[in-house]
Every structure is written in C-alpha cells, then in structure tokens.
C-alpha cells in the first residue's frame, strides 16, 4: 500500500466547528454551515474555491450535502456523502486527503455533521439471530473488554475512571466541547452504573454538532500564499477492519495496533515521537487499552502513565487534549473531523489554554462499528518544508 507521504503533499489549511451539544432542534444545515464558514474564514478561502466536498454523517439520512451547501452557493462542486458509523468524519477526511494527494483536486472540504436520533444499524438487518439482545450494543462490548483488562493487569476500577476525570478537565478548556465543567474522581465513580465497571460519566454522551477542515495541495498553498505556520501537513492515512476474534485477544485490539503502527510506518515516525494523540474513548477504558496497543506505553502501563501525568496536556504525550469523546463529545459524523481540527490547532500553536507546548507531531485515531479503524498523522512543518 502506497504511503500518503509518497503522493502529492497534503495540508490542512482551515478548520471550523459548531460546538457539540446535547440533542436539540437546530437543523443540521445550521450546524454544518457554521463549521464550513468558520473553516473558510480560517483558510482565507471562498466557497467557490472549494472543488469537492466529502460529508461524513452517520444519522442524518440520504443526500445531506447539497441540501446544506446550496445555501453557500450552487457552485457545481463534487459532493460525496460518507458513512462509516462513528468514523464517518475520519473517512470523509481520508477521502479528501486522497483526492488532493492523487493530484486530482487542489482544495477539498471534509465536513462531519450529524443529528442524534436515527442510528439504525445494518447489524440488526442481517437476518441472523443472536444469543444476546445486546450483542450489537457497544456499551456492553466495552464493559466486557474493560472488565477483562482490569482483571488482566490487576487494576482497580478507579484506573479507568481517571480517564474521564482527565478528559472532562480538558473539555472544560475547550469552547467547542459538549461538557464544560471539570469532574472529580468521586463524581465520575458516583454517577449511575451502566454496565460492568462503566458509570454514566465514563460513557460518551449523545449529541450533535459539526466540524470542518479544508485540505489543500502544495500547488494551492503556494498559489494562495498561505502562511506555512498555519498549514499542517498530513503525513499518513491508514484504514483497516477487524480480523477474527480469538479467546487470546479481542480483535479490536489488534485492529488498533495494526492501523496505528502502519500509520507511524507510513509517516516514518515512531509512536514515542507523537506529542499528541486523539483517540476513540467512547468508554473510558478504551483510552488505556488503545494507548498500549498504539505503543505509547507498554502492556498494562497505561493507568500508571495516566496517574503520573504523562498523558495530560504538558505531559509526555497529550492524549485527548480536546476532551475526547467523553468530554468534547461524540456526535458521530463530526467526531473524526473534530480530532483533526484539534491536532491542527495544537500543531499551529493556537490551542490557547489547552496548548500542549512544543507540539510537532500528532495522531488522530478513530473506530467505527464493524469494527473499522482509521489513523491519520499530522505534522507541523518549518518554513523549509521539513518536519
């Protein structure tokens, strides 16, 4: 598989979001247009400059793009809707990058937008019965995974609850986040039990929102004299899906390991070089499991890494500086694009109170029902183009 880095260079030139929020009556068009307009302003571009748009959404329904974009002007651009459950936005971003990397387009939009409510899933339409009525419900799957992980490494239940404390603390500093208040360990542990050791505050919320990024070619970057300090290079885009389950190890873990390892390989970086990671912690324990699978620390060490502050903003590698799915939210379509926006903001040095000092290299990793996984690596480049 040819690394993205060996194709035409790809940059993120603009980012914009509508805050993630609890389910409400705001039409998705308003959410999406807010994010797109903010991204265009951020990039110094007009809508007519955008040649192609990928719209990641899991729940809005058919043909969301044009219904929204016509209010920016019917320019005739290519519009493609992308769905991969929770990873819809990440895959919209991947396709935007690939279109630019292929030399096909110079300026492409990746937008993630969603409304809560219509999460029908194909797994319930496969004509096959199941022994458990909750076999397709992620909360149960991750409760089982979490119990096995805590037992395997002889960890207390507080070890995973601490993830929620860190990420709510980060979200409190993020004006686009759904949650804006820090939470204590006592609050997280005392919230109602959902399944296994997961309490409500260790599970991502329902919500909606939007996130947009504009991807450009080197040619466009030069033609439009975009400042190098504000364009962030996309070094790798890797996607995969689960292999067969085994009693030895849940297949999701190997899927995360393989996708993140290949992304690092394609970017010619090592996991320990990463300054920032945005990952799918829809359920608190996932952050611990995936950090280990990604090689940020050794097996069974993620809880200690967290406890000693290494995954905090300002630590060795800031994990979910945005607040993650627990704190910033998980409106589905927007989530993966929001991860990219956070990395871009951090790598530009524009993250304000959330700034992870010296950030040069970041990875965004998402998972979708199926399961599928996707990893992107972004880097700040200096004026000469090196990173």
């Amino acid at each position: 598989m040819r690394p993205l880095r060996e194709m035409e260079p790809v940059y993120v030139a603009g980012i914009g979001l509508h805050p993630y929020q609890f389910p409400n009556d705001t039409p998705y068009t308003h959410l999406g247009l807010t994010a797109v307009r903010e991204a265009l302003t951020d990039a110094g571009l007009a809508w007519r400059d955008v040649q192609s748009a990928y719209v990641g959404t899991a729940a809005i329904g058919m043909a969301a793009g044009r219904v929204m974009f016509r209010h920016l002007g019917s320019t005739g651009l290519a519009v493609t809707q992308v769905e991969n459950a929770s990873a819809s936005g990440s895959f919209a971003f991947r396709l935007a990058c690939m279109e630019v990397a292929a030399g096909h387009s110079d300026i492409v939009l990746a937008l993630g937008v969603d409304k809560f409510g219509d999460g029908r899933r194909a797994a319930n339409k496969d004509g096959l019965a199941r022994l458990s009525d909750t076999a397709t419900i992620p909360a149960v799957k991750f409760a089982l995974l979490g119990r096995a992980y805590l037992r395997q490494h002889d960890l207390p239940v507080e070890a995973m609850a601490e993830v929620a404390v860190k990420n709510h603390g980060n979200a409190a500093l993020n004006p686009y986040a759904q949650f804006r208040k820090p939470r204590t360990l006592e609050q997280v542990m005392a919230s109602p039990k959902v399944a296994g050791d997961l309490t409500v505050q260790q599970c991502c919320p329902r919500g909606d929102g939007a996130a947009a990024v504009i991807v450009v070619s080197e040619r466009a970057r030069r033609r439009l004299s975009m400042p190098a300090a504000r364009t962030v290079r996309v070094l790798a885009s890797v996607a995969n899906s689960e292999g067969e389950d085994s009693a030895a190890e849940p297949s999701v873990i190997d899927m995360v390991r393989a996708s993140s390892a290949q992304a690092c390989e394609h970017a010619a970086v090592a996991p320990l070089d990463l300054d920032l990671v945005e990952l799918h912690e829809a359920f608190s324990v996932e952050e611990l499991i995936y950090m280990e699978a990604m090689g940020l620390c050794g097996p069974g060490e993620a809880a200690h890494y967290l406890r000693r502050g290494a995954s905090r903003i300002g630590g060795q590698c800031a994990v979910n500086a945005s607040g993650g799915l627990l704190g910033m939210g998980h409106p589905l379509g927007p989530t993966g694009v929001g991860q990219i926006a956070e990395l871009v903001r951090q790598l530009r040095g524009e993250a304000g109170a959330r700034q992870h000092a010296g950030a040069r290299l970041g990875m965004a990793h998402m998972i979708g029902l199926g399961s599928v996984a996707i990893a992107h690596i972004l880097a700040r480049e200096n004026a000469t183009g090196a990173h």
Binding site: A129, L131, D133, T134, V140, R147, A195, A247
Partner: protein, 142 residues
C-alpha cells in the same frame, strides 16, 4: 417445557433428553465450525453457504468474561442481568446471557438452559448443569 418452541430456532434446539443443543455450521472447505448455523458463508475461510452443513453440539461453553448490565439497553432484556463472552467451541466467541446474578470467574464452564419466555423459550447459560431459574419453574407450572 417440550411444548415450548425456541425463540431463536436457528441458534438452538431442545435435544431428546431435554438439554439444549447449539446449532453450528461445519464448513466442507475448511472443516471448522461457525455460528450461527445459517450464516451466509464461512467466517473462517469465506466459503459460500452451500459449503456449510448444520451440526448440533451440546450447549456447553467456556466463560471468558462477564459483567452485570445495570441499565436496560434493549427492551427485550430488562436490567439487571449478567452478560458474558462465551467460547462456544474453540474460535467461536459469542455474547450470551447468564441466569441469575452471579458473575462466575473466567474459565468457568457454563451450560445452556431453556428459560420460558411467553410461548417460547430463550437460551441462557448457567453454572450448574440442569440449573433452571425459579421464575421458569413458576412459568412452566402456570
């Protein structure tokens, strides 16, 4: 009990001795078992459904992990209940529901039991063979 029908007849059936048998597919191409029996292909080697034949196996399984579900996440499964990842046969892992409120340790052998549910019976798993939960005895007597 024998008057009741399986809620999911593609997954399990009542054996002549009154125990529950699980229904697997055996693949003519790779000889491995798959679950459920009526899957449209072999999940191990990809052979089409025509290569699969249905075989019954005793309803025993090895428990890998279990947790209590505290909130009702599906209307068909009111909380609380105990859910488990079970290895039905080597290489076949399925989520299933246990009877009772115990959380057995990993490695425990569990046994399929029929639990009446209206005019049908569900397949749940119990730690002791022949375990029938109190509610189902009342249901059967009613």
């Amino acid at each position: 009990m024998t008057a009741l029908t399986p809620r999911h007849p593609t997954l399990y059936r009542l054996a002549p001795d009154g125990s529950i048998e699980l229904l697997f597919s055996r693949c003519a191409s790779c000889d491995r078992l798959g679950f459920p029996a009526n899957a449209p292909g072999c999940g191990h080697c990809g052979a089409p459904a025509e290569a699969l034949e249905t075989v019954a196996r005793p309803g025993t399984a090895r428990l890998l992990t279990c947790v209590t579900v505290h909130q009702t996440l599906s209307p068909a499964l009111p909380a609380p209940y105990v859910v488990a990842d079970l290895e039905l046969v080597p290489g076949v892992i399925e989520e299933a529901v246990l009877v009772g409120d115990e959380e057995p340790p990993p490695g425990t052998m569990v046994y399929a039991v029929a639990v009446p549910n209206g005019g049908d019976f569900d397949c749940r798993f119990a730690v002791r063979p022949g375990d029938v939960p109190r509610a189902s005895r009342e249901g059967a007597a009613a």
